[in-house]
Point group: none
Chain length 244, copies 2
DNA sequence: CCGGCTTTGTAACAAATTGCTGCACGGCGC
DNA sequence: GCGCCGTGCAGCAATTTGTTACAAAGCCGG
C-alpha cells in the first residue's frame, strides 16, 4: 500500500471514535468514522477505504450483518472488535470473511500492529483481485493498468506521471459518474481535501492536456459545476493480446 | 486444507510443548516440536510443515532471527508468540514476514482459531507457486536464480552485482505490485531504511542502466511517486532444460 | 600486508513532478 | 451591464526522484 492508509472505524460510541481517531492519526493513518452499518456502507462507496475496524455491537444492523453486507461488494480488509470474548470463535469460525478480530478492551498500539499486519497481508495477495481485466479501452484509447501505460488512438505511447495515472484510473473506475472533488482527492492522493485546495483542478487540467483532442473543449472529462468532474467515455475491458 | 495439517511448535519450554501438542491434537492438527531455531530450520527441511508457531524467546538464535532465516527459503505461514506485550509492535511493524502473532498467556482455543484463520488465508493465495522454479523469464530476458545469471533477450550475459541481483529478485517475486522503498530496503539489505536513505533509489538507477532498453524511459521498473517502484513485466517460470 | 579491482553508501546537483497562488474568463442572478 | 462565484491555467516554489562523483569497505592475487 501507499504511504498513508485510510481506515474506517465503525462504532457508535463517540468516545471510542474520538480516541481511536486521535491515536491512529499519530501513526500516519487517516481515519474516518461511521456510527452504524448503514453509514459504513455509504462511506465505503464514497471513499477509498483501505481497512475497516468494525465493532460487533451496533445499533440497527449489527457487526456480523454489516460484515456480510460489505463482503457482498467488497474485499476490503475487515478487523472485527467485540467486547464478548466468546464471540471470538464465532468471528473466525463462521465464514464471515473478517480478516482479524480483537476483544475489548484493547491496547491501541495492538490495534495499530494488527492494522499494519492485515494491510500487509492484503497487499501481498493484491494481485488479481482489483480489476478483472488488466487493460481497458475508451474512445479509441487503451490503458494498461498493470504496466501503467496509456496508448493514444494512433497507437503511440503517452507518458503519464504517477498523479495523472492515478487520476485517470479513478475516472476509469467510475465512468459516467459525477465525482466530487473530495472523492477525487481521496482516490488520487489518499488525503482529505484542504479548505482552499485546488490541486484536483490543476491535475485535471494537466490530464486533459494529454488526453483531450481539444483541451479547451473537453469531451472526455467534463466539468460539473459545483460538483466536480465526470468521465464521459464508455470504458470496455480489452482482452489480453495473445502474448504467451 | 482439509485433512490434518502439520504444525511445528518452536518453544523451549517442555511444559508448553506438551500442553500445546495435546490440545492441538484434539482439533485434528498434527504437531511436531522444536526447541530452538536450529531445530526448527532442520524440521522444516525434513517435514512438510503447513504452519509454524514460533516463540520469540529462544535459546541461541531468537525468534526474530529465526523468522528471518525461515523466510529466506520458505513462505510457510508463521505465527509468532511473545510474552512481552511490547514486542507485538515490533513483530508486525518490522517486515519480518510473520503472518500473525499472539501474546502469552493465550487461550488455546484462540490459538486454534488463529491457526485456522492463517491457514485459510494461506490457502487463498496459494496460487503463486510455492517452489519457485530456478529460472524465470520476463520481457525476453531470462534469469537463473540458482546460478545468479541474467541473460539479455539477445542471449548475452549481463553481470549483476549482488545488490543488483537481490533487487531484481525482489521485483521478480512481486511483479505488477507497487513496492515501497522500505520494503525493498528490507528485502535487499535486510535492514530498516534510515531517515535520508537514498540507497534504494541509487540501486534502482543502477539496475535500470543494465536492464532497461532506454533507462531514461523505464518500461520494466516504473516509479510510483511517494511510494516506490513497480516491476511491470510478466514473469513466467521457465521449464528446466531436460537434464534430469 | 600491499595494491588494484569491484561494490556500495552518501553527498551533491539536475530534472521531474506537484501543490499553491494569482489572475483571467465565463456563467448566473440581479 | 455589474458583481459574484466557480473553474482554467500559467508561473513559481517545494518536494521528490534520477544521476553522477567520490570515498569507504570488501575482495583477491601476490
Amino acid at each position: 500500500m501507499t504511504g498513508t492508509c485510510h481506515i474506517l472505524i465503525v462504532d457508535d460510541e463517540l468516545e471510542i471514535q474520538r480516541l481511536t481517531k486521535r491515536f491512529l492519526g499519530q501513526y500516519d493513518l487517516r481515519v474516518s468514522v461511521a456510527g452504524s452499518g448503514d453509514e459504513a456502507l455509504k462511506a465505503l462507496q464514497e471513499w477509498n477505504i483501505d481497512l475497516v475496524v468494525l465493532d460487533v455491537m451496533l445499533p440497527g444492523m449489527d457487526g456480523f450483518e454489516t460484515c456480510r453486507m460489505i463482503r457482498r461488494t467488497s474485499r476490503v480488509p475487515i478487523i472485527m472488535v467485540t467486547a464478548v470474548r466468546d464471540d471470538a470463535d464465532r468471528i473466525m469460525g463462521l465464514e464471515l470473511g473478517a480478516d482479524d478480530y480483537m476483544t475489548k478492551p484493547f491496547n491501541p498500539r495492538e490495534l495499530v500492529a494488527r492494522i499494519r499486519a492485515v494491510l500487509r497481508r492484503a497487499a501481498d495477495r493484491a494481485q488479481g483481485g482489483d480489476v478483472p481485466g488488466t487493460r481497458v479501452g475508451f474512445d479509441g484509447w487503451s490503458l494498461d493498468l498493470e504496466r501503467r501505460e496509456l496508448r493514444a488512438p494512433d497507437g503511440s505511447l503517452v507518458t503519464l506521471s504517477s498523479g495523472e495515472f492515478a487520476m485517470l484510473q479513478a475516472f476509469i473506475r467510475n465512468p459516467k459518474t459525477p465525482l466530487r472533488r473530495e472523492q477525487l482527492c481521496d482516490m488520487v492522493q489518499g488525503r482529505e481535501q484542504g479548505a482552499f485546495d485546488r490541486s484536483v483542478d490543476v491535475q485535471v487540467s494537466r490530464l486533459r492536456r494529454k488526453v483531450e483532442a481539444d483541451p479547451n473543449r473537453p469531451a472526455l472529462i467534463k466539468t460539473i459545476r459545483n460538483v466536480g468532474y465526470q468521465f464521459c467515455a464508455d470504458v470496455q475491458p480489452i482482452a489480453e493480446s495473445v502474448t504467451r
